[in-house]
Amino acid sequence: MCNANARWRIGIDVGGTNTDGVILDDDDRLVAWTKTPTTVDLVFGIATALRQVLAQIDMRDGVIASVVLGTTQATNAVVERRALDRVGMVRIGAPVSDAVPPLAAWPDDLSHAAIVASTTVAGGCLIDGNRIAQLDRDALKRYFGGLAGTVDAIALSGVFSPMYPDDELAAADIARQALGDIRISMGHQIGQLGLLERENATALNAALGRVGHLIVDGLLSAMDELGLTVPPFIAQNDGTIMDAATAMAFPILTIGSGPSNSLRGAALLSGVDDAIIADVGGTTTDLGVLTDSFGRESTSGSAIGGVSTNFRMPDIISLPYGGGTVIRGDRVGPDSVGHQLRECALVFGGDIATLTDAAVSHNRMSLPGVRPPAAAEFHRALEEFDEAVTDAVAALAVHKRRLPIIAVGGGNTLIPEHLPGLGEVLRVAHADVANAAGAASAMIGATVETVAPMSRRAAVLDDAKNRAVAKAVAAGAHPDHTHPVAVVETALGYVSEPAVRLKIKAAGPIAQRVRV
């Protein structure tokens, strides 16, 4: 089955309910797969999944070329306000945005969990590059001096810093002089224009330092247990992956990687590039749009743990229905026993009626040796589910084409064979491990953002493309196969010289390397 020189890629996806693992061969075929309950101990869960997929291949036939992890650890940390680092926040740009202090709109419990202090100092630039004021170095020295011993990380956010990063870089030097080798999160590396959202994302990223290390160390420890010495990669929100160093510096980028992996995995498993993807899990069904084999992104920013950011995430409609959704008379959910489906559901001998029971009783799912339970409310519950899915598909779809629907995830067969008025429902092999397949197949991605006056647009664009490619290659992408994959150009109005904001994404496959 495998040639002697196969290069296998492993993908692991740690979800809320299950941890999935797959191995892909050179031709993107699945040669091993597993699904195992997610454990509290991250290392144990990853190692279990790795062990189970490695047991399915003969190591004499090839080598493991890469291991990619997708995880919701960072999302959980922010949502649950735990394992967060203590952050000192600095805005550079007084007085032009003093009307709204930094992090003003944060929920109190999140501020309390993550933010030690915040201040605003003079500095920063206007959109045309003219200085607002000289950077107030003395104020920074005093502020950082006062924080010694009370913070784990510093967040720096300068007005117009994505265009003019100098003051953030200078402030980072001052912070290191005062606080030693401390983690520093800088706005110009994190976000786009939009001060408050960028500031929020920069502070969240600073607070996630420990979680970033936990993710990378967890993966490395699990790999060590199994003797895997290839470089580890972590999935990020745009459907590409990053190296360990990038993941530790920018843990916030892991937020939203789950839906991206599921969309990319569905594309890989089905060979279809344009479709609606329905990912049916234990608690929710997430629907998104696959366009040219990448997930369609939302046009507006997204809120993380009650804080608005300008990260563009996959455009997902999340419905409160999954395989573990509890049915009580006329009520379907929103509570779910997704975690303990195999103990609680009627079909598994438990005493709770779930959507899985309804699906089995109406022949959407078949479980060997299980007698379908019967209940009058099952038909109505499935009708409610079908209606919610139909509405979501209609809301996502563009009218010009009736897109096929690809059902993935552990509960994929909850989606019926036919939904009236919608495109055909495609069944794909291994749909239940689509997320891990998406992670395993992902390319290494890197993004560069810059602003160019129209007169120098072409030169700046070329330079930015080269920098994006170089950044992806530095992260481990193959130099011969890494290319710019997307250029987003936004005109800036009412400025002295017309200008455009350029965002360039480059991506390429993983180059073969050995971890040192």
């Binding site: 003093d98 003003a104 206007l126 408050l196 046009t299 209609a394 809301a395 779809a397 563009v398 009412y494």
Partner: protein, 359 residues
Amino acid sequence: MSATLTSIGLADLDDYAFGCAAFGTGGGGGVAPSVIATSAALRGYGAVDVVRLEDLDDDALIVPLSSIGAPTVSAEMLGSGAESVRIRDLVEQRAGRKIDAVMASEIGGANGVDPVRWAAELGVALLDADGMGRAFPELPMVSMNVAMVPPGAITVADALGNVGVLEPINPDWAERWTRAVCVASGSSAVMADYVMTAGQARGAVIERTVSGALELGRRVRRADDPVAELVDVLGADRVITGKVSDIQRTTLDGFVRGTITVLGLGSDAGREVTITVQNECLVVRDGATVVATVPDLIGLFDATHGEPVPIESVTFGQRVAVLAWPCDPLWRTERGLQIAGPAAFGLDLDYRPLEASHV
């Protein structure tokens, strides 16, 4: 109608901002940054008094205020919080007297929300009126200009602390000079123009728009059927309910231009309407038939929740209700149409009042 509005406090802000966004007809700038800044001000200074024009003496001094600049910049420079004070000080110094109220020059979008913050910072009342009854992209497109009130001296303050007075020869030069100053300040500034007495303002401003925006938000945000409530409160026509099927959108010279196509669903299945946009929604056509044109108001609202949808965030497949409702009669005068009718936007169309298409 509800009881006379006498103040706007923190608890009213989200409702009020909803109304401002609705009157923005897709433009006027996103209200979110202004809501954050205004809530900080209301927390610090307390609720703002709202006064009606008829309750002011003829010689009461009214200061219309607005932000000007690029949306990209306003998301980065949120203001120092001292602009309103600098403008007031200069206006009072030149007038030799205290001001009595501030007014929103433009109720639609962010410029409807910010005057609440400025009134709070200054500790003066907010007039229950504005200069548009909606959003428009240029300074001369205000009711005071229609009523031949001169723009007078223009006071401009930026976030760095610069402040000055311009005395342009006419409304077009007011636009040109103010823009130049604004660009010099990093494309972000606050300005006062058409500073006038209550006597001058009578018949020259569009009244009850602050209370109208608040009431709209209050009712729609609590309604079982938000779109039906919008139709009822605004006296609007429901042009179509459907799905966004095409978006042609370009940004040029700070203006968003293009078309949005909505394909009917449900009882509107089989129909298709096209909306011409230039920052705001300007024209809506049902097939080839013009249903409504500027200065009548045209807006896109979320078909389920009734939230106003800004043009820059319209997405494919989004379910929307397209509503059109009549503008203030002042805009339908000959001079009103000259200033803000279809021709003022370079559209080769005759204005027909929205109601004329009901037959």
